[in-house]
């Protein structure tokens, strides 16, 4: 029964993918969208039953399907592990996935390739489920690669625009760099433990098996490199902002709520391993903190509504990695969930705005949408308050937990994280004010067409906004349901913060910080009615920020160009030398041939004479040699 249900959970989206690929065009847009949505909704319902079952029994559901690979002392089974962690992930992957499918039915309705869009989305959900429910690292890797592929397909969905294709390729290549790290990590783990099963490795480590600490650290570091690629951390984050080329529902589903959290899932899944490698944990925490600060700083001055949200995503992911590095896995997971709610809502909200403005993404040409798009505005406001970390919205609880953990372990990281949070509050309210307040700055024609989005778009917004509002209840400070729920999958007991004076002081600081950020944004964009300058007028440090610290340019200079240089070296020098040599041989043979053909006179008498002469020479030679 469990096996069949698990297979249904996995293959419902895959069936949706196949049907949409082969029959989507015939089915028509409405049916194609409905089919895709139902496929994911099926997975959600199955997930829900498993989720309730595991909550009741407290025991994970293990499904062992078949033996996959068997070598001398190494075997890999194909099986699923539906435990507390994977079910939690499935809940929001399929749940938010369903909502975003509903949203896409309306959002993508004018697109001629709508069935293809739903096929890709279904395929993505299929691979994401594979990634999450696998019982060993190899299955996770299949899903890991699969979601990368779908991300590529969906970023480049509007393939007629070359910039979008380039963005898709960039995402894929950056991900591949991380994936290589992940794969090497898997190999090392296979070498160390002769198994890739989570439970086997966990048992081996907890029973104190003798494992080379250096190799263990290298393995953990390699896994983290994989996580860096997928979850857009320094130095591999640059693909995520460019990935905004994809349709907005894709940004919401893949590049905010689900795929980019795969790195956090993996680290949490392997927490028993990372616990034993404190050096790597430090690296993770530092990388996370710096990423969150840098991305937030870049987000301060971006003018593309989706770019701001993208950098905000990178920044929030950085905070999650900060928590992971500090060993507070349950807090990172908590932030993943709240972030999934409010960031999906923000992206979908921005999609609603873009939809109303017929593709306009520049905030300098927006404004005053509050009156026209009431539902979008209210849901957007709730999510913005949540991401800014104001109580009682969900983001406050998760972000505060991260900062509190950082404060107790490392004050520097706490300062960095807090700065990032203040910046977050500023740029999110900058976004909100520029988009929804003051007067409309677009063209008259756009103004004429302004309208609230249809119900299929606003419904997911409302659901997500409610979740963003109340999502914090799953892990209230002092009484955390989530910590209790996740305890069986974490090797170390959850961090428990006493609700003492320090805790309240930290909460106060966080709230005051957020209010400062909001206040600055208010005075600048509401009181002074400032509108960001045109590209050419940006100067000073703001210009550095606006150009994203020139990271892309630096990568181009130190990596892309040298590779091109090596390429052209091989083309111009090495290839020229080799082909010169080969062509030279050909020329020699050709010359010999054209000279040699004159020997063939056609005179049989001459041939026979040469023949006899040859035999005589051989005979003479043999006699002389003796």
């Amino acid at each position: 029964m469990d096996t069949n249900l698990a297979l249904l959970l996995l293959f419902a989206p895959f069936a949706g993918f196949l049907l949409n690929v082969f029959f989507g065009k015939k089915l028509g847009k409405g049916a194609s969208g409905t089919l895709g949505t139902l496929a994911v909704a099926t997975s959600f319902v199955v997930t829900l039953t498993f989720f309730l079952q595991v909550i009741n029994t407290g025991k994970p559901v293990m499904v062992d399907l078949f033996e996959w690979l068997t070598l001398a002392n190494f075997n890999v089974n194909f099986g699923f592990q539906l435990d507390q962690l994977s079910l939690l992930w499935l809940m929001f992957v399929t749940g938010i996935g369903t909502l975003i499918h509903v949203y896409s039915i309306s959002y993508m309705h004018d697109d001629e390739n709508m069935h293809k869009f739903f096929a890709y989305l279904n395929l993505f959900i299929f691979f994401m489920i594979t990634l999450v429910i696998g019982s060993n690292l190899l299955i996770m890797f299949i899903g890991w690669e699969g979601v990368g592929l779908c991300s590529y397909l969906l970023i480049g969905f509007w393939y007629k625009n070359q910039d979008y294709n380039d963005a898709a390729k960039k995402a894929f290549i950056m991900n591949r760099i991380g994936d290589l790290g992940f794969l090497i990590g898997i190999f090392i783990i296979g070498y160390l433990f002769h198994s890739l099963d989570y439970t086997t490795i966990a048992t081996a480590l907890s029973s104190g098996a003798e494992v080379d600490a250096t190799w263990l650290s290298i393995a953990a570091l390699c896994l983290f490199i994989g996580a860096c690629g997928k979850s857009a951390q320094l130095p591999l984050y640059t693909w995520l902002p460019d990935a905004m080329a994809g349709p907005t529902p894709v940004s919401a589903l893949i590049h905010a709520a689900t795929m980019v959290t795969a790195g956090i899932f993996m680290v949490t899944r392997m927490n028993f391993l990372f616990n034993l490698t404190p050096d790597v944990q430090t690296v993770i925490a530092v990388v996370g903190a710096i990423t969150s600060l840098i991305a937030a700083a870049i987000g301060l001055v971006q003018n593309d509504i989706k770019k701001v949200l993208a950098y905000s995503t990178v920044s929030q992911l950085g905070l999650m990695f900060l928590a992971l590095g500090l060993g507070a896995y349950e807090i990172a997971v908590f932030h993943v969930i709240t972030h999934a709610f409010f960031k999906a809502c923000l992206f979908l909200g921005s999609g609603s705005v873009i939809h109303a403005l017929h593709g306009e993404q520049d905030m300098r040409n927006m404004g005053g949408l509050k009156g026209v798009m009431k539902i979008t505005y209210i849901t957007f406001l709730i999510s913005t308050l949540a991401i800014s970390g104001l109580p009682p919205f969900s983001g406050f609880f998760s972000k505060d937990e991260i900062l509190m953990t950082a404060f107790h372990q490392n004050k520097v990281l706490w300062v960095i994280g807090s700065l990032a949070s203040i910046m977050t509050a500023f740029y999110m309210f900058r976004l909100l004010y520029l988009t929804f307040y003051k007067d409309f700055r677009g063209t008259e024609e756009q103004k004429h067409h302004l309208h609230e989005s249809p119900g299929l778009i606003t419904f997911p917004l409302i659901v997500l906004a409610i979740l963003a509002l109340v999502g914090g209840v799953i892990s209230l400070p002092g009484n955390s349901w989530l910590n209790h729920y996740l305890a069986p999958v974490l090797a170390k007991p959850a961090h428990h913060h006493e609700l003492d004076g320090t805790a309240y002081m930290l909460m106060g600081i966080a709230v005051v910080g957020a209010l400062i950020g909001i206040g600055v944004a208010y005075s600048k964009y509401i009181k002074q009615s400032a509108v960001p300058a045109q590209d050419s007028e940006i100067t000073g440090f703001a210009k550095v920020l606006y150009n994203k610290f020139y990271v892309d340019e630096i990568y181009t200079a130190i990596i892309v160009n040298p590779i091109y240089a090596i390429g052209s070296f091989f083309r111009d020098v090495t290839e020229a030398a080799f082909s010169g040599f080969i062509f030279g041989l050909g020329k020699v043979a050709n010359m010999l041939g054209s000279e040699g053909k004159t020997l063939q006179t056609g005179s049989i008498g001459f041939y026979l004479f040469a023949f006899v002469l040859g035999i005589c020479s051989i005979v003479v030679y043999i006699f002389l040699a003796k």
């Binding site: 053909k597 004159t598 020997l599 063939q600 006179t601 056609g602 005179s603 049989i604 008498g605 026979l608 004479f609 006899v612």
Partner: protein
């Protein structure tokens, strides 16, 4: 068998076959008629056959004689093919002078 070799020494067989072989070679080199050249080639072949048989007797080893049978069978086949070619040449050119066969010039 030994009697024959006692009566006529092995060296005489060698002389004869050498002579025959040389006759064959000169026939091939000097004559221009394809049929005669063909016959000269057969003479060379038979010179070698003679030598094989002689040494086979001398060494008391039947292998040489067996080998000669093979060689004769092959020669017969070769003659059949060769004469067929000559007939075809004659039909086309009305003579079989090898100096006229220069179409295969490189």
């Amino acid at each position: 068998m030994e009697n024959i070799l006692q009566q006529i020494g092995i060296e005489n067989y060698i002389y004869l076959s050498t002579l025959l072989f040389c006759v064959g070679i000169f026939g091939v080199l000097y004559r221009r008629n394809a049929i005669v050249m063909f016959m000269s080639i057969e003479i060379m072949l038979n010179a070698v056959n003679l030598l094989l048989v002689a040494f086979s007797t001398y060494h008391q080893d039947a292998t040489g004689q067996v080998f000669v049978f093979f060689s004769m069978a092959v020669a017969a086949a070769e003659v059949a093919v060769g004469l067929a070619i000559l007939v075809a040449v004659y039909r086309n050119l009305n003579n079989i002078d090898i100096d006229n066969l220069k179409n295969l010039k490189g």
